[in-house]
Symmetry: C2
Subunit: 426 residues, 2 copies
């Protein structure tokens, strides 16, 4: 880890800068994928799956027998754990439901706002060696709670044409309406355009590699909403002089095992804590299977100490971490200083892993500094808010002159006329 | 207007398709603007303003003397109207404030969500013959209510280096912190990158021409959030057999005067209402100053009749209009059928103009079918929701085994270890 003490603002700008992911070189590839799916739909999707996942599928959709059967393929302990996480995530997201609001802004002028579920959503779950069933929980639970009528999940099959039973089991548990065996940019293109097997969706959610990310950008340009721009996962651990080196090291390592491009930052107001944390990392690392990966991730990571706590949090907010851990006996004192973060973990017994899996909060969070303006996935992400208004004839008598005055000042006579014609009638 | 009766689904797909705005041809121009602003900051901004707005400014920022002085340049009646609109918009947006939510998902596991204002926002107000001060109200009021600390407004100056007093007056009234005399793609680039005079912002809001739209897309790619993708303004008027032809015609014309690319749709369950509305349009049009523009907009517009009300609303939802007017004696019966719309206007005395200016709802709304997944600008658009969690040692005793089970099933040993190391200590 690179070490800094009271860095100046130029250095801070360097530290907070994430590695740029340039997806523009992928534009031609992604453009072809979209064109191909647009023209040949399922046929193209089946061909891409054969090329990249090494299996020619006769049917893209997972059958209900596969979904139901997955339950028997999982150990009981894992199912119990998934059910506990399901329960907590459901509780926290259900609590986020907002009531519709209504107000008479002036006599006879009623205005209200109503949350209406997005009709059709698409969830992308990456493949790879480990089945990311936790992301199924994080995306499908709020989709179901919101009342989305179509919840499509795409995930690449293995070379036997199967999706991991933990993903199928979780999808079934959460009420996913259709599981499609397709991955990569072609899955994103299929959900954004629609094919014979894959419903066209209104909004896309979920993580993925650079091809998936570029495809989501393309889908956004073409009119499909997306959850948020993606980037490598990050953690920033802040500790004061009550920070626990072993716990901090374990959290930094947990982040580092996500990949060599993971961002790991340690900020502290206790200078000598850095050495202790580094020593702990060294020791714990030897017991972890992904040591090669974690060492590379830690090489380009930063440990920063500050004499002043406000300067430290100015840095935290400038970095705007996806995950922010506050390692302190009395973490509450720092909460008012937090302006930008995706999800915050307070105190010694609140590891990021808790929120990654099972405490109830969502783990799909803004990376790459986007926490300055983006929220993580939450119940609201599956709704749009529609405003309504109803004005009585008396209401328009009251409000009309204001509207006419403003419309004429903006030189929009027909806007004024739509009011005048009504005032003349009443 | 093109007329259809009970169109089949292929025809509906044609009707709902908006003219594609291809901004990819602008990519090179916009790329240059961003590069130029990045390198030469204010100097570049001043040059662009000289080239496009025909004035070489010595200072980009409007002075407080200009802001305060604007009040004296406006007629009292217009100021009173703006103040009434200000009051209504404030009431409706303040009502949208959400409380932070907190829940103990299981014993010892506290999760909460808190809305934190986006620190710095940038509002773009286009120039042109008419001053769009109403958009200043729609963007600056919720920004101020949310508590954004920096509210930057960019609008192009006239050839005398001035911004229209109605814009300055409204900006001052709403608490805009900085008014910058700059327009076009260069203003968007400046707010997204930051210059000596223009603060770098976290999120960009506001309408604009194709250059502004392309620049907002570019800013989004480079990491600045934006309110929503933009497109030409639209209205869909639905009427049952109680629809009022004169009122309907006035609303369609109000939409058509926005520009030749405006989208105007009339849908009805009363076939012969179409002829009556067309006759009314013909008559009212002659009294309006922008007749040339409205006729072109109406030429590529559609009037569609349906025998069945559910089919009619399937069409409405597929079109997903920015503005939806329900022209009926008893409009409430149709509210449950509305799935996709930006803002809805119910009953005979609720013209779109009311919401455009002064009733209290926002007029910055999703166009181009984006109402399927996007909300209009609202108070929440100026916040991000941060989740927090705090787990006690007993809480982790309870939840820990679930986390470990799931982390190991996803082959993330360091994630499991961050829990184990804590459980071993407690």
């Amino acid at each position: 880890m690179n070490q800094y003490h009271n860095p100046d603002s130029a250095t801070i700008q360097q530290i907070v800068r994430r590695p740029q992911m340039d997806t523009s070189t992928l534009a031609a590839i992604i453009g072809d994928v979209f064109d191909n799916i647009e023209k040949r739909k399922d046929e193209a999707l089946i061909e891409y799956t054969e090329r990249f996942d090494k299996i020619r599928l006769s049917s893209l959709q997972a059958t209900s027998a596969e979904l139901v059967g997955a339950e028997h393929a999982l150990p009981m302990a894992l199912k119990t754990a998934i059910q506990q996480a399901y329960k907590n995530i459901t509780l926290f997201h259900e609590r986020q439901r907002t009531e519709s609001i209504k107000i008479e802004t002036q006599p006879g002028v009623m205005c209200w706002q109503q949350a209406v579920p997005i009709d059709r959503v698409g969830l992308y779950i990456p493949g790879g060696s480990a089945p990311l069933f936790s992301t199924v929980l994080m995306l499908a639970i709020p989709a179901k709670l919101a009342g989305c009528s179509e919840i499509v999940l795409c995930s690449p099959p293995n070379m036997h044409g199967q999706i991991h039973p933990a993903i199928l089991y979780t999808a079934h548990l959460c009420g996913v309406t259709k599981v499609i065996k397709a991955g990569g940019a072609q899955a994103i293109a299929a959900m954004s355009i629609g094919t014979e097997s894959v419903p066209k969706v209104d909004k896309l959610f979920g993580p993925g590699n650079q091809y998936v990310t570029a495809a989501k950008q393309k889908a956004f340009e073409k009119g499909t909403a997306i959850d948020m721009p993606a980037g490598p996962s990050e953690v920033l651990v802040f500790a004061d002089n009550t920070g626990d080196p072993a716990f901090i090291a374990s959290d930094l390592l947990a982040q580092a095992e996500h990949g060599v491009d993971s961002q790991v930052i340690f900020a502290t107001t206790k200078l000598d804590l850095i050495e202790q944390v580094l020593a702990e990392i060294k020791q714990q690392e030897t017991q972890l299977p992904r040591q090669e990966m974690t060492s590379i991730a830690l090489e380009h990571s930063h440990a920063v100490s500050f004499d002043d706590v406000h300067t430290a949090f100015a840095f935290v907010n400038e970095y705007a971490p996806e995950h922010l851990i506050i390692s302190a006996d009395a973490p509450d004192q720092y909460v008012p200083l937090i302006k930008n973060a995706g999800s915050v973990f307070l105190g010694h017994y609140t590891p990021e892993s808790a929120g990654d899996y099972a405490s109830g909060t969502n783990h799909t969070l803004p990376t790459n500094g986007h926490a300055k303006a983006f929220s993580g996935v939450n119940l609201d992400a599956f709704f749009k808010k529609i405003t309504f208004q109803q004005i009585s004839d008396t209401g328009l008598d009251n409000l009309g002159p204001t509207i006419i005055q403003m419309a004429e000042a903006e030189q929009l006579q027909a806007h004024a006329n739509a009011v005048k014609i009504r005032l003349n009638r009443s």
